[in-house]
Symmetry: C2
Subunit: 354 residues, 2 copies
């Protein structure tokens, strides 16, 4: 018997993958017997069970997951669509998603919309045909600009959807967002309390949900502390054009600000470099606070004060909501929106004393 196995096993590289059917044939039993034996069913005699298991192990049998999924009507795969991957924050979110998914036995399939509406729709269509049990999406900028969310509506009828970071009130589903408003407020308040009088903001156009919220937080603080902000202190960067040129304007202003809140790392670091190039002393003459605690903030010089976003936590929260939704029998419990706190991380681009 042993020899027989070894003999056969030498052929394993030749043919295609080993299946239940092939094992059954070789052993002269039915596929049902093999299946049951492998799952240690008491329906099958111990003798047969051992024989089958030994054989399966020898051939390195692994059940075909496609067949399994088809039968179980479950793919155990989560589709994730993010705007871009070369981005510290999204990387951390993905890492959280992957971690949480694996913990509950799911796999993750990542696609990128490249901020394009077209690619977002395409990706969803590609993954929707039974490939995934649920979607985790952060909306592309173009989609936000177009404000066309039909693809999400269609999707929701088939499979659960959780939106994270870039969300929209029109879409009714579970959501996980960063406390963008609170972050904007905290940053601005800190600048004010450390003595900045002339506050500027470098943000995105209003259709970018997170940019808008951060700006609102800024504006609220400005208002609460009775500070006037001239319109030229509010820069809304259009990424289709030269970013540096747009940011430079506020730095070059004759009556320039002494505190700048930027809604992301890149804007903050770019602005700070521009200021340094003009010989402006940081933080004494100009303070900076960014958003996202990535490598740019850590390694810029001076290191950037910023709002840490806890992307990993956001990913874990999002996948938790999604899997709960997938696995719940009565799927009509109300949708919820989780807000992830942000931490103000003070480094050297801001003053320390109040």
């Amino acid at each position: 018997m042993k020899i027989f196995y070894i003999c056969k096993s030498q052929q394993k590289n030749m043919g295609a993958k080993i299946t239940l059917k092939k094992i059954a044939k070789e052993l002269g039993v039915s596929t049902s017997t093999v299946s049951k034996a492998l799952s240690d069913s008491h329906e099958i005699s111990v003798e047969t069970r051992e024989k089958v298991k030994a054989f399966a192990k020898m051939y390195n049998y692994k059940p075909n997951s496609l067949a399994l999924r088809l039968r179980n009507q479950r793919s155990m795969v989560i589709g994730v669509i993010i705007p871009e991957i070369v981005h510290h924050f999204f990387s951390t979110v993905i890492s959280g998603i992957e971690h949480g998914a694996n913990e509950r036995g799911y796999n993750v399939m990542v696609c990128f919309s490249d901020e394009s509406y077209q690619k977002e729709v395409l990706n969803i269509e590609m993954l929707a045909g039974g490939s995934v049990d649920g979607f985790l999406v952060s909306i592309a900028k173009e989609t936000q600009e177009l404000s066309d969310f039909r693809h999400f509506e269609d999707l929701k009828e088939e499979v659960p959807l959780v939106l994270f970071d870039r969300v929209h009130p029109k879409i009714n589903c579970d959501k996980v967002v960063v406390d963008d408003f609170g972050g904007g407020y905290k940053a601005t308040e800190y600048l004010i309390k450390t003595g900045c009088k002339k506050l500027a903001i470098i943000t995105t156009p209003d259709f970018v949900s997170v940019g808008l919220e951060r700006k609102k937080g800024f504006l609220k603080a400005i208002n609460d502390y009775n500070i006037a902000v001239p319109s030229e202190y509010i820069i809304q960067v259009n990424e289709k054009n030269d970013i540096t040129a747009q940011i430079q304007k506020v730095i070059n202003l004759p009556d320039r600000p002494d505190g700048i809140f930027a809604v992301n790392e890149i804007y903050a670091a770019t602005a700070m470099k521009l200021a340094q190039d003009k010989g402006i002393k940081i933080p004494e003459e100009m303070s900076f606070i960014g958003f996202t605690d990535g490598y740019i903030s850590q390694f810029s010089n001076p290191s950037l004060s910023t709002l840490a976003q806890h992307g990993h936590e956001m990913g874990e929260k999002a996948i938790e909501l999604l899997i709960n939704r997938i696995e719940s029998k009565d799927s009509d419990f109300p949708f919820q929106t989780k807000v992830i706190d942000v931490d103000l991380k003070i480094r050297n681009s801001t003053k320390k004393t109040f």
Copy 2:
């Protein structure tokens, strides 16, 4: 007829997904007819074809991709395993892979080994059971340290494998690597030519393939130009301990180097900050060159000279090799190793004049 459709279509949210079988039942034809009608087979009358297609569209029918894959014995999915995602270089590679894959109709499934041997094996097992048509892997550090590659050997019998960036000569398969040796040489040569006399290197332990190659390049240049490098100028960072403390040693040396080549951005930026803290003038008193042209290099101050790695290109090359391997009938054409060039990008952490 029209009314009938509308009537039914209102129920579509209720039941599960629409399938060929259901369409067939509703229309009173066989599933084969529906299948053929949808693929515009001339076996089916124009009348029936139109009817089926209209119905399918109304119900927003999408073929179940699991069933398709099972039948076609192809998943059209590529499994990618990288050591970590929160990493600029790997992000760019992923983006290249995704781009190339989509172009040829494949999807990408990304998993992370977190530099752990265990997780690498687990991920491969998870994806190997028919889920993916091929693997793209960058080896985890722990796996390199353990030098245990049986999981890859087993894998290769079932499905093609392409290794990228972190490779190993023991594994016989297609590979794509960066010209790490050449990069190390170029960097060192540049430092020498701009007047540095005392050259140090901050690198990884030798089991990290890319670190070793970069060090070899450094050593070759040192040798070619007849420069002596004392052993305390060669720092091999053990990431299990405090990185900063290890790097600090070479900066604090009484007879300190005037040119430092670091094998990644983080080491370079960390070293540079440490030097700045000591009041050392950069690049006049100490020059720095890193590896990987990420955000850290761009936004550090002074901005870091570095070797740009072209991760996107590497990803595209890797996926191309893999898909060619998957789609070729005679799969025994010889394995190849592609080397991606690196570009020395001079910024402000090095001297300009020769």
